[in-house]
């Protein structure tokens, strides 16, 4: 099963506004503005390696909502975005 992870040493976080988070990706030098939910997803991946399904469940728990198709699609989009930007990577 494909799992995803983000390396803590590659990310520097700053948070000021409740709904917006800034993360600096050290290897690329890129700075990203993340929504609260995508920031939460990336922080979960910093904590441990997770499959898409596991991440979806964790997010649902954190956000106090149901695991449903829209959330699954949302998470899939995050992961594609994280992958393209080098913020998270697949591990086997």
């Amino acid at each position: 099963m494909t799992k995803w992870t983000a390396r803590s040493c590659d990310l520097i976080w700053r948070t000021w506004d409740q709904e917006r988070f800034v993360v600096y990706h050290v290897p690329s030098g890129d700075t990203h503005l993340l929504s609260r939910v995508s920031a939460l997803a990336l922080k979960h991946l910093e904590d441990r390696r997770l499959s898409q399904a596991e991440l979806t469940s964790l997010l649902a728990e954190s956000l106090d909502c149901q695991v449903d198709e829209p959330l699954g699609t949302y998470v899939e989009e995050f992961l594609v975005g994280f992958d393209q930007r080098g913020l998270a990577e697949r591990t086997s």
Binding site: W16, R20, F21, V26, T31
Partner: protein, 304 residues
């Protein structure tokens, strides 16, 4: 010795051989035989210290007549041509732009934010903005209402201590902002109006003598204010999200990518310390009053 203390003939002679002067931490060397450029330097850099010799020069700029009629000029930075055979009437504004380019578009220990900066009693206001947002116009106005000019175009942020280093070069104004500042500050000293530059009609304002005299005194930022010149708008100062402020400043800094992690941390610390706002304005008197109120409302000097 200040440049204004050099007799015109001596200034012209030194410029032909290469005249060095200091602008904040940067040393520039300008070489030119052109009388129009000499007049510009003598007027708008009058209060800057001339250097007899300089061991380290940050920007070498030369302006030379070109073409067989000598009616055109070419402008060089560090020996490389920047403008080739442009009309002689463009020599002054293009020399200013080349000085800007030569000083700021090079490796630097500072994070170079694209912003104007003014300071009053230890608290600096940074005005990041796209061209036309009004940062130079605001700076030109405020420095005639008790604020000190640090820069109208580039704010060098020192990562080590988070302070802004002054670079109080002549303020460049475009189009209607020339008349707006003339009305606001009738005693301001302007250079000639250059009617047909690539950026439209343009004029330079002499930086206040006090700002130049204090150009070795960095200032601690207290505010990041995004000006938004909006014709007909009543002045309105509204909070601006810090995360968005950081992104905007990073995107528009000249060397954010070069400084990497150090640049991010310096910028994040700046945003941490500062209150961030957006200022919509159309009238300089009202905008200046709005900023005076803001200044008065934050009485403490920002700490280290």
């Amino acid at each position: 010795m200040r440049l204004s203390e050099l007799p015109a003939t001596e200034l012209a002679r030194r410029l032909r051989e290469g005249l060095c002067w200091r602008v904040g931490p940067f040393v520039v060397r300008l070489t030119t035989p052109l009388a129009s450029v000499a007049r510009h330097v003598g007027t708008l850099y009058a209060d800057f210290p001339a250097l007899e010799q300089a061991d380290v020069v940050d920007a070498h700029v030369s302006v030379r007549a070109a073409g067989w009629t000598r009616r055109r000029v070419s402008i060089y930075s560090d020996g490389a041509v920047v403008y080739r055979k442009v009309p002689r009437a463009q020599a002054v504004p293009l020399t200013e732009w080349t000085l800007n380019l030569s000083v700021f578009h090079r490796p630097s220990r500072f994070l170079l934010l694209h912003a104007g900066v003014v300071e009053r009693e230890g608290r600096a206001a940074i005005f990041p903005g796209d061209p036309g947002a009004g940062k130079s116009t605001l700076c030109a106005a405020l420095v005639h209402r008790g604020w000190r000019l640090l820069s109208d175009e580039v704010a060098p942020l020192a990562p080590a201590d988070g302070r802004i280093v002054p670079v109080p070069r002549p303020i460049s104004l475009k189009e209607e902002s020339i008349e707006a500042v003339r009305r606001f500050a009738p005693h301001a000293t302007f250079g000639p109006i250059w009617p047909e530059t690539a950026k439209g009609r343009l004029a330079h304002v002499l930086p206040p003598r006090e700002s130049v005299r204090r150009m070795d005194e960095p200032a601690r930022p207290a505010w990041v204010i995004f000006p938004a010149f909006t014709p007909g708008a009543a002045p309105r100062l509204e909070p601006f999200g810090k995360a968005r402020a950081l992104l905007y400043c990073a995107t528009n800094a000249f060397n954010y990518d070069v400084l990497g992690r150090q640049g991010f941390l310096a910028l994040a610390d700046l945003i941490d310390r500062c209150d961030c706002y957006r200022l919509s304005f159309s009238d300089l008197e009202q905008a200046a009053a709005e900023l005076a109120d803001l200044w008065a409302s934050r009485s403490e000097v920002p700490g280290p």
